[in-house]
């Protein structure tokens, strides 16, 4: 069996990863397994190896000639290293990235921490909480006219917050 990465040497390191129903197999030679840190659990990510193989093909649609205007990185560079050259590369090579990300991650959109500058302003989220409380009370009191007005106001504030976050 030949090494999946260099396609020259006999593969002696065989890795299997099962995630959900998806099983991925990689066979590497001694040298490539070292280069990809396959024996270094601190650093090895299975997807890295796959990246250099099948997965990176999916980003190829951009064409081999295009280079990142910020850092000069090219598609073959990415294929070779499995790493991007600079943050701007994510825009340059955006096309086809989604399929790659889908194969690696739970989702394709960030759902975690935001830098403070992008966080919804605190007064808006406090306001939202207060409005929600008043709405709950209005519903409890069966004061539907007030409730409807509050609901509209909440929608409006949410809309503003959404703008900030997006």
């Amino acid at each position: 069996m030949l090494c999946n990465a260099c396609k020259q040497n006999e593969a002696t390191v065989h890795l299997t990863q099962i995630a959900g129903d998806d099983m991925k197999k990689v066979d590497l030679c001694e040298a490539c397994s070292k280069e990809k840190h396959a024996t270094d659990p601190e650093n090895f990510a299975f997807a890295d190896v796959l990246l250099g193989l099948g997965a990176a093909q999916e980003v190829e649609q951009v064409g081999p000639e295009s280079r990142c205007p910020a850092c000069g990185y090219s598609q073959p560079d990415f294929k070779k290293t499995g790493r991007f050259g600079c943050p701007e590369c994510y825009t340059t090579f955006a096309e086809g990235l989604e399929a790659l990300l889908k194969s690696m991650h739970k989702g394709t959109r960030h759902n975690g921490k935001l830098p403070v500058a992008l966080q919804p302003p605190r007064d808006a989220s406090t306001k939202l909480k207060q409005l929600q409380k008043r709405l709950d009370k209005a519903v409890l009191d069966e004061d539907y006219e007030t409730a409807a007005a509050l609901r509209d106001e909440i929608r409006q504030v949410r809309g503003q917050l959404g703008d900030v976050a997006a």
């Binding site: 299975f46 910020a70 790493r83 690696m104 989702g107 975690g112 976050a165």
Partner: protein, 362 residues
């Protein structure tokens, strides 16, 4: 100050305790961050890397958490120093291979360690003894928020924190724990556990050794996916899985004592014989035998021996620590002799295993 005088003495570092630390040796959360407008370290030329480091290092050093910290550029460290840091699990082997334009900032007592210009501009890690992944996350989240006020991170509202490798994209988080699982290995359940944990999108692998071997029965569990979930969600997912692994390991130990006590005593007794009498021992064999002795401590076979001693020996027998202990550079075959001498000497006062009162200590 030199790295050697800064690092906590090994016995002290090994005496730190945390919840469930018989089985969960340590918990770690690492975040990957990059600066906007700078090429990633792997693609950057040295002047670019130096510029990024000059921006980052003073800001990291000025954090209140980093008061009295140790900071150095990688080219100021000797290969032996770097290896020492790897053996203490403070930096990656990849980072140890770097030189000028990369650096580290290490807090007092080594609970925070920031690698500058590893694969990403910033790899910040919070380390806690025992099972404390939530605490480790809370701490590094705080550090990250403080840094973010003064550094302009590369961030996209769609893709989150942008990282050199797309496998770290989004949250840039890696939550991991180091586990000692001799019970599951002896009870031949470990492969089943590895498979079922993999199905949850987490990875379990041996921390030492090549390929499939897990020297010293030490495993690392970590998340593989970083995009599409919140950090808290990832941390909770791992914390739950760790609780389960912990429980299965305890159950495996209890079952072994009930059904295969003789076999277990045999393993531990032989390990005691070898470690306290060998004159030549490889690090591989030493790790495996010390793991069994550690199990012996947890099963009350050595009531007077503190677990910290075995933890200390486990690190001490590794290359850089061994050389530091001896004070001279050693050839590999000479190392096996010195390692055996050291172990014999340190175990001289360790009594033989007593099986009369064996039970699984919690």
């Amino acid at each position: 100050m030199s790295l050697r005088s800064f690092l906590s003495p090994l016995p002290e570092a090994c005496r730190r305790t945390g919840p469930h630390d018989r089985i969960v040796l340590s918990s770690r959360v690492r975040l990957a961050r990059n600066l906007r407008g700078h090429p990633f370290p792997g693609h950057a030329k040295k002047p670019d890397r130096v510029r990024a480091m000059d921006t980052i290092r003073p800001i990291v050093e000025s954090l209140p958490e980093m008061a009295g910290a140790y900071a150095a550029a990688m080219d100021e460290l000797t290969p032996a120093d770097k290896q020492l840091l790897v053996e203490r699990h403070l930096i990656s082997r990849e980072h140890a291979a770097r030189s000028g334009g990369s650096g580290i900032v290490l807090s007092k007592e080594e609970s925070l360690c920031v690698m500058i210009n590893e694969e990403d501009h910033l790899r910040m890690q919070s380390l806690q003894p025992g099972l404390q992944v939530r605490q480790a996350w809370a701490r590094i989240d705080q550090v990250d928020s403080a840094l973010e006020k003064r550094l302009e991170y590369a961030f996209s509202s769609d893709l989150g924190y942008l990282t050199a490798c797309p496998t770290n994209l989004g949250t840039g988080i890696r939550v991991s724990a180091m586990l000692h699982l001799p019970g599951l290995v002896l009870d031949e359940q470990i492969n089943k556990i590895i498979q079922s944990v993999s199905k949850l999108g987490l990875a379990v692998r041996g921390l030492y050794g090549e390929g499939t071997e897990a020297l010293g029965n030490i495993f690392q569990v970590s998340n593989q996916q970083t995009l599409g979930e919140t950090e808290a969600h990832i941390v909770e997912r791992i914390a739950k899985v760790l609780d389960q692994i912990l429980e299965t390991e305890v159950n495996a130990r209890k079952r072994l004592l009930e059904t295969k006590a003789k076999a277990v005593f045999n393993y531990i007794g032989r390990a005691y014989g070898i470690v306290s009498n060998a004159h030549v021992i490889t690090s591989k064999e030493a790790m495996n035998q010390l793991s069994l002795l550690r199990l012996g401590v947890d099963l009350n076979l050595f009531p007077e021996v503190p677990r910290a001693l075995l933890e200390e020996l486990f690190v001490l027998i590794q290359q850089a620590h061994l050389q530091q202990h001896i004070g001279i550079k050693l050839e590999p075959d000479k190392r096996d002799l010195v390692r055996a001498d050291l172990l014999r000497e340190r175990l001289q006062l360790m009594p033989r295993p007593q099986t009369a009162d064996a039970r699984c200590l919690e």
